[in-house]
């Protein structure tokens, strides 16, 4: 063991000498991460403390229960199960419905033969990505208000004729569908790029073997972009607990907290509106830990199953 470590160190030393230019180049990036991503982590200490701005982070008192009082309070809170459930429901339905959508769009665009039509369609589809979130949300509010066209259409199918955002059971569909509308074109770009990387000879070979469009897609196109898909999925899973916080804040109201209140909005309300900085930091940490675990687990599974992994 010790031997191995030593040789590792020696290897690093050799490496440093050999590629010193490359290491020099990486220094600013490392400093950036240390300064902006690692140094602020010191602040998570307040999750274990009764933070008082006068005393500062270090000198604030530890909470009772060995510093874990905020966590205990959160787990015992009336809202714990609800916001956890809502977070998972919103996030998982976003992944299930939202993740395949851009892949489908990319595949469809790929099949288009008319270049001009393809380009126009693509441009239109990624336009919503550039609209600011506030504007998107007011559009959503407008469309789903009691006079909005979506409400109007739905009322023909037996839906309610009041604002849909006042009904708890409509929130998740509204959130997921508007998310797809907003992101589908932009997210498809990366898959389109992956598609162009597929060797055209493979399609030729498949055609010679008698494969039709469908078979070609199934056996050439999809395997061709599967690496990209898995990486994207892993990255997405790393954020499974981070649902679009701004969007929910802008869309929800007290009447639909039942389905719309998630961990991040809860953290926002507790921390910024109720002055409970320590408590809200504790909830935030809980969120991050779950994200971390999820991405570790899926990375491992993915490495076993498909040899594609983040690290």
């Amino acid at each position: 063991m010790k031997n191995k470590k030593k040789s590792g160190l020696r290897r690093l030393g050799n490496d440093l000498r050999k590629y010193s230019d490359a290491y020099m180049m990486v220094i600013p990036v490392v400093i950036f991460y240390l300064l902006f991503c690692y140094k602020p982590m010191y602040g998570i200490l307040i999750a274990f403390k009764d933070y008082s701005p006068a005393a500062g982070i270090w000198d604030s008192d530890w909470t009772s229960s060995y510093g874990f009082q905020h966590f205990i309070d959160f787990f015992q809170s009336y809202y714990f199960t609800r916001i956890l459930k809502n977070t998972l429901v919103i996030s998982i339905s976003s992944i299930i419905f939202g993740f395949p959508a851009p892949i489908l769009l990319a595949l469809l665009l790929n099949e288009l033969k008319n270049e001009k039509f393809k380009r126009v369609t693509q441009t239109i589809s990624y336009m919503p990505h550039f609209i600011s979130m506030v504007v998107v949300c007011s559009m959503v509010q407008l469309f789903t208000s009691n006079k909005g066209f979506i409400t109007y259409l739905l009322s023909f199918l037996g839906g309610p004729d009041c604002s849909l955002l006042t009904r708890p059971n409509y929130f998740v569909p509204i959130y997921v569908l508007s998310g797809i509308w907003q992101g589908i074109g932009w997210d498809a770009i990366i898959y389109l790029a992956a598609l162009t990387g597929i060797d055209q000879e493979l399609y030729e070979a498949a055609r010679i073997d008698g494969a039709g469009r469908w078979k070609q897609t199934l056996h050439v196109t999809l395997p061709g972009i599967s690496g990209t898909v898995i990486i994207m999925l892993l990255l997405r899973l790393g954020n499974v607990m981070n649902v679009g916080f701004e969007k929910i804040i802008l869309l929800y109201n007290e009447g639909i907290y039942e389905t719309a209140d998630v961990i991040s909005t809860f953290v926002y309300r507790k921390g910024l509106q109720d002055f409970q900085w320590g408590y809200s930091a504790a909830v935030g940490i809980f969120n991050s830990v779950i994200n971390f675990v999820v991405v570790m687990v899926f990375n491992k599974i993915s490495r076993k199953v498909s040899d594609v992994s983040l690290w």
Binding site: D50, Y51, S52, P53, A54, A55, G56, D73, S77, Y78, Y79, Q141, S145, N146, D161, C162, S163, L165, T166, R167, P168, N253, E254, G255, I256, Y257, E258, R269, K270, L272, Q273, D274, F275, Q276, W277, Y279
Partner: protein, 568 residues
Amino acid sequence: MKKLYQWKKVTACIMAAAVTLSVCACGNQNGDKDDAGKTTSQENPEASKETPAEETSSEAEKSEESQAESEAGGAAEVTYPLKEKVHLTLAMVDEAAVTANAKNLAETPFGKAWQEATGVELEIMQLADGDALNLLYASGELPDMIAYSGYTGGAEKAIKDKIIQPLNDYMQYAPDLQAVLDSNDLYKKSSTTKDGDIIGFPFIRGDDYLLSSAGLIIRQDWLDDLNLELPQTPDDLYEVLKAFKEEKGAKVPFSVGNWWLKSIALEHGLLTSPFGLVKGNFYQVDGKVHYGYAEEAYKDVLAFLNKLYAEGLLDPNFQTVDDNTIRANIMNGETGVTVGNTGGYMGNMLQTMEEDPTFNLNGFGPLVAKAGDVPMSTHYDNALPGKYIIVTPSCSNKEAAVQFLNYGYTKEGSLLFNYGIEGESYTIVDGEPTYTDLIMHNPDGLTKQLALAQYTRAWQDGPFVQEKGYQLQYADLPSQKSALSNWTRSDAAKYNMPPVTVAEEDASEYSKLMGDIGTYVSEMTIQYITGLEPLDTFESKYLETLKSMNVERAIEMRQEALDDFNAR
């Protein structure tokens, strides 16, 4: 010590530079205005360059004397402008009415006059919203002064967290505030913590007439057309709404935004009296604290609202509808009843509809069980609503800051804060300060509120005593006056909680409890009104859950706080 010395040196240099500059400026200008002031500043570098021209030299000497005395800790008078030229920073949350026409408060005519009168250079640290203010508190890096409106754990905690500098050791620099506090026991009690610390410079509503400013609003012209009286009981209101819907074609006869419904109508008991409930929020009956939302009687209030909702009388969008939409609905004849205030609601609508002689509004009092009864509650604010300008412990010049903020309580300051600048925004008519047309009929088309926001603080809050004359002139239309008199009639003073905060050691627990409880109450209120949750579950689910959330403990903490306050 050395640092302090250096600072002094720097200050001296800056002062010298300022004086030199002002002298240079004299040379360049024609010197048409305050010649005398300039002479003073040339002769005496200590004196402020903004000494008004009319001040004679003998008066100047006198002021120097009294200044010297007060520095010695003796005199009970502050002379304005201050001799020392200071720069102070005030953090405040953005006020749309101010920033609609000026960069910030310091740039308004009011702000300039305040700075000129006190000789203080005021810098505003503009915060986007309350959240930004909370972040500022959390950062621990505070400006000289903050417009403060509350802190978890109350002022005691804020003092302990080194956000507030108690004024006790500086009261000799605030003789006019001291006089105001001495004049009224409630003022003194409300602005002092239980440890006897003076919190800051409070906003004080100086007359009972100013305590109510919101309530139920109705289309009076519709009532007249239909030969109906102002509704008093729930049944009256129901009939009126029905008539509005059927005969006036109002699509949503009663429209109210979620905030107004909860924070005004329910929390202040505009709809609760007939059902035997004072109001939704905390109140006291003979010294015993109740939490209205956790009372059995609340069920009947919800049942009434649910009936209105189910019959399409209450706006189905009440959770999401915004103020502008409601105002538009009222003016377009889609809505006949709402909850709002004299200014933003009644004033704005009446001013907009000036051209239409038929349009008229009125306010009606909180509902009661029997016509003629006095309601138990109404929109009623404490004389000291808990808004202060506080001086922070890190303030660079506490003496000057205290003197600066004291100005609002002086005679001249009170005129400036309430009425603005004499000859511009007000004139004295028959001994009473009277707003000019600049405020009342602004030539640039500003509403009264927007005009007042440029010249006064009376429209909002600040370190001064608000005068009745403001409200009388601001809400001067007959319908506004009638609304105010209808809204003020109540027993609210009897049941109202004084501005108490729970003990500092309980604060964290209390705010966790009330955070959860408040959210739950808001949600369930909406669900019961919309009928998504049937009212049968009121006892079994709603009250039980509140109990399991330990609402009793929260009430107990409020009770302790009230007992403490009463014993003081």
